[in-house]
Symmetry: C2
């Protein structure tokens, strides 16, 4: 078989750090394994446009021979899932491989927005010291209302980690209620109406997949219903938020801040408005490149998980059901919506 | 009576934000209350040197009339406690008024060091995008050993908030064991030997008062026993760490990072080495000015607490025992060491 891995270029860093497994240079650590079984292993970062390696090898494999799409990580919205169903191509991901990493990034982002970290650190870097300029927009997370839009594997872990912070209330909005087992471990209230949900949150964290129902969901109209001065954290997918509308809300102070690692275009262009947006007090921007699920700990987990999926496939063993997004000819997960 | 409040200048920010209660401009919100009782209320930020307002008014009150020193917040190491014992001057603080604020700052600092936030945000600000340069030094908190040096009111709250992060182990070093009630709510192990303690920690957080036994405690000699690549967070007092030794350890990579809001000199001079120190991968600095206990939520609590202490004093009521550092002629707290 031909195994085609589309990874990102790690350049110098990947040569120096072999634990950067998700890079073209380090090939998910799979070359020896795959070649020992007699498979061809093609690794590339060239995935866009008709001249890309991706198109060349997909055509080469004649498309109708394509059996399996594996996301080395979580988030399969880059795959045309309906086409996969029609053509009986299975889609799998390494479910859970980065849920903890992302949940931790959410907690960090909430804290650094609420506590006004970035302007404070920048003040130190430039040689200044004026505590009141920082303190005037620094708050405690204790006593705030925090809500998660989406209470799946990541959202639930966010709620778990928020539990001891003594928030005023934890809320969630989801089309499914939390499983009973989860409800017994976190003290959280479900809000059924989206506008009522956002209106109650001092802090809102987005933990839902990108699909037709969530694309552009957080736009000017919905932001109008947010609590004035709320903080918004999005580590899910950039396109769930309208980039211009969010930036305008931060600039006006309607949102006190926005943080996350996902962008509507990736890599973000140099002039992307989210790189430089600030609230009226010069803070409120906690943006980073897309890496929350790509810590070295996560890379070890998703490289091992990708290998396990390939092993199951080669040996005809059943896949772990939690990893299957599209089975042979049908959706197995509701996470990306269904036809 | 004359009430002398030494506060910090808030300048423009304090004029715009009345919730900045701990500033000279906003006077802890106490002027109306004190003057209505016929007291004189002097507010100043001038506290250093023989010409300062502080010296002028302390002399004015003839020192032997000094009855009460109140820290509007927590941390009374700026007061000569032995002299207060000798002269029967009571020393009180608003115990607990900022413990949650500081504990939250610790959690934030741990997460942003371990997850390599600062270089990631700076990459976005300068218009770049190279995930591998960030990911190569980004980790999860899950699975790490985290220890607190000091398990008092702040250290215990740090442990509580770390609980759901699924760390490999939580440790503490303290001259007192945690109270039994606390031991039943956090899963933590006490390490009796300081060198053995630091040798086990991937992350070490300092939550002890500054006194003769902790000054300069974290120096070159002790750092030699740290786990290579550990992260160190200090929101307690800057002088607990040796500034040069910590900076050298970060620069060499012996420490992967250092974060906190306390400095051996405050305000920190423009060229303080902690402003600019970086680890060999260009990160590992999470320093901010001293504000972790000065969020607007904390300012509301310590202004109210200061008023309550003054009320008790004026009305001859007993003080809340947790607030008393030095009673009349004797230490009431062991937090600052005892003679």
């Amino acid at each position: 078989m031909k195994v085609l891995a589309v990874l990102y270029n790690g350049f110098q860093a990947a040569k120096a750090e072999p634990r950067l497994l998700g890079t073209v240079e380090n090939e998910l650590g799979l070359r020896r394994y795959l070649e020992s079984l007699g498979h061809e292993y093609v690794v590339t970062s060239s995935k866009e446009g008709p001249e890309s390696d991706f198109q060349k090898h997909i055509v080469d494999s004649d498309a109708k021979n394509l059996k399996l799409c594996v996301t080395a990580g979580v988030g399969s919205d880059h795959i045309d899932l309906n086409a996969a169903v029609d053509r009986k191509v299975q889609v799998l991901e390494v479910s859970g491989s980065n849920v903890v990493s992302v949940a931790e990034h959410v907690l960090m982002s909430i804290l650094l927005l609420v506590r006004n970290f970035v302007p404070a650190h920048e003040m130190i870097e430039r040689g200044d010291w004026q505590v009141s300029d920082i303190a005037r927009n620094a708050f405690d997370l204790e006593g705030k209302v925090v809500g998660t839009l989406g209470a799946g594997r990541i959202g639930y872990r966010v709620l778990q980690r928020l539990q001891p912070f003594n928030c005023k209330e934890l809320l969630y909005y989801d089309y499914n209620p939390l499983p009973m087992a989860a409800q017994s471990t976190v003290d959280v209230r479900r809000v059924a109406d989206l506008k009522e949900f956002v209106a109650q949150c001092d802090v809102l964290t987005v933990n839902t997949p990108l699909h037709e129902g969530t694309r552009n969901l957080i736009n000017k109209d919905l932001l109008h219903h947010f609590k004035p001065g709320a903080w918004l954290v999005n580590t899910a997918r950039g396109a769930i938020c309208n980039a211009e509308d969010v930036a305008a809300a931060v600039k006006s102070g309607r949102l006190n801040g926005y943080a996350g690692d996902v962008w509507n275009v990736q890599p973000a262009p140099k002039d992307h408005i989210w790189r430089t947006m600030k609230n009226p007090l010069g803070g409120g921007n906690g943006m980073v490149p897309h890496y929350s699920g790509t810590t070295l700990d996560a890379q070890a987990r998703y490289a091992a998980g990708t290998k396990a999926i390939l092993e199951n496939y080669f040996e005809g063993k059943e896949q772990d059901p939690v990893n299957v997004i599209v089975g042979i000819g049908k959706y197995e997960s509701k996470a990306y919506g269904q036809r």
